[in-house]
C-alpha cells in the first residue's frame, strides 16, 4: 500500500501541476492551494473533478471545501480508495 500511495501522490502532483500550470518542483505537499499557490476555488474544483475521474471515486460535496492542500487531498483520496 505504501508504494501505491507514493505512486498516487506522484500522479496527483502531476495532475495539479498540469491543471494549475505550476512546475512539480514548486508543489510542496503542505502548500495551501489558495494562499501559497494561487489556485482559485474554480481551479480547485477542476482538480477535484480530474482526480475523481482518474481514480473513479466521488469526493463528497461537503468535503470539497476542506481540501486546501495536496496533503489534505492525499489523505482524502487514500480514505476514499480504501472504502
Amino acid at each position: 500500500m505504501k508504494n501505491d500511495l507514493e505512486t498516487i501522490k506522484k500522479e496527483i502532483r502531476g495532475l495539479v501541476s498540469e491543471l494549475a500550470e505550476i512546475p512539480v518542483k514548486d508543489l510542496r505537499d503542505t502548500a495551501r492551494f489558495a494562499e501559497d499557490l494561487g489556485i482559485d476555488s474554480m481551479k480547485a474544483l477542476e482538480i477535484v473533478a480530474a482526480v475523481e475521474k482518474k481514480y473513479r471515486v466521488i469526493v463528497p460535496e461537503e468535503e470539497i471545501p476542506t481540501i486546501r492542500s495536496l496533503q489534505q487531498m492525499f489523505v482524502l483520496i487514500e480514505k476514499l480508495l480504501n472504502k
Binding site: M42, L45, V48, A49, E52, E61, I64
Partner: protein, 248 residues
C-alpha cells in the same frame, strides 16, 4: 424535434402553469424529466403519465424549494436515476400580492424565500455537479415584474429582480466552464396565478399589453427549450422578456 434526447432536465414547480408546460415541452424534445411539486400531488401524477406518453422518462419529487436539504435530495436522486444533469429550470414561485402598507413580514419572507431562496437552493445544490461536468444550462424564471415593478407586488418584484441579478452574476462565474445561465421574464401568462385576478383587473391588464392577449404557458416553455438548445449556445446572462410587448 427530440433535440434534447438523452439530456436530463430538472424543473421546479412542474405540476402547474409554466412549469407543467416546460415538463411537456422538454419531454417532447426527448429529455428525461425530473420535476418538483409542493402540494399538487394529483396534478403531478397526471404530468408523469403525460411525460411517459410522450416517450420520455419522468421522475417526480414532493419538495419545498425553501428547504436546502430537500433540494439537495432532488439533485442526488436525479443523478442516481439519470446519471447527469444537463438543464435546471428554477420555475417554482408564488405570489402574495398586497399593498406594502398592509404587507406582513411573513408575506414578504414567504415570497422571497420561495422565489429567490428557492432559486439559490436548487442552483447551489446542483452547481458543483454542473461544474464538474463542464456542461450545463440554468434557466431561472423571473418576470416582467422584476424588470418594471408592478403595484402591490413589492415582495414578488423584489424576488424576481433578485433572480435577474443572481442569474447575471452566476452567468459570469460559470460561463468559462461551459455553463450558461439565463433568466426568462414572462408577462401575464394564462396560469392559476393570473386566473386569480378579477375581471376588472384582467381588463386593465389587457389594455397595457400591446398584443392585447395573455401569453400561453407553452409559449414560455418553447423559449426555455430554445435557451436549453445548442441554438442558444452564445446566449448567457440574458434576461429575456416574453410579454406581448408589456414592458417595452
Amino acid at each position: 424535434m427530440r433535440g434534447l434526447k438523452n439530456k436530463t432536465a430538472i424543473i421546479t414547480g412542474g405540476s402547474r402553469g409554466i412549469g407543467r408546460a416546460c415538463c411537456l415541452a422538454f419531454a417532447r424534445e426527448g429529455a428525461n424529466i425530473a420535476f418538483t411539486y409542493n402540494k399538487s400531488r394529483q396534478e403531478a401524477e397526471k404530468i408523469k403519465e403525460e411525460i411517459l406518453s410522450l416517450g420520455a422518462e419522468p421522475l417526480s419529487f414532493q419538495a419545498d424549494v425553501k428547504d436546502y436539504t430537500q433540494c439537495r435530495k432532488v439533485i442526488e436522486d436525479t443523478l442516481a436515476k439519470f446519471g447527469k444533469i444537463d438543464i435546471l429550470i428554477n420555475n417554482a414561485g408564488i405570489t402574495k400580492d398586497r399593498a406594502l402598507f398592509m404587507m406582513t413580514l411573513e408575506e414578504w419572507k414567504e415570497v422571497i424565500d420561495t422565489n429567490l431562496g428557492g432559486t439559490f437552493n436548487m442552483t447551489r445544490a446542483a452547481i458543483t455537479t454542473l461544474m464538474k461536468q463542464k456542461e450545463g444550462c440554468i434557466i431561472n424564471m423571473s418576470s416582467v415584474s422584476g424588470l418594471i415593478g408592478l403595484s402591490k407586488q413589492s415582495n414578488y418584484s423584489a424576488s424576481k429582480a433578485g433572480i435577474i441579478g443572481f442569474s447575471k452574476a452566476l452567468a459570469k462565474e460559470v460561463a468559462p466552464l461551459n455553463i450558461r445561465v439565463n433568466a426568462v421574464c414572462p408577462g401575464f401568462i394564462e396560469t392559476d396565478m393570473t386566473a386569480a385576478l378579477n375581471e376588472n383587473m384582467k381588463k386593465q391588464i389587457l389594455e397595457l399589453i400591446p398584443e392585447k392577449r395573455l401569453g400561453r404557458p407553452e409559449e414560455v416553455a418553447e423559449l426555455c427549450v430554445f435557451l436549453a438548445s445548442g441554438k442558444a449556445a452564445y446566449i448567457a446572462g440574458e434576461a429575456i422578456k416574453i410579454d406581448g410587448g408589456l414592458a417595452i
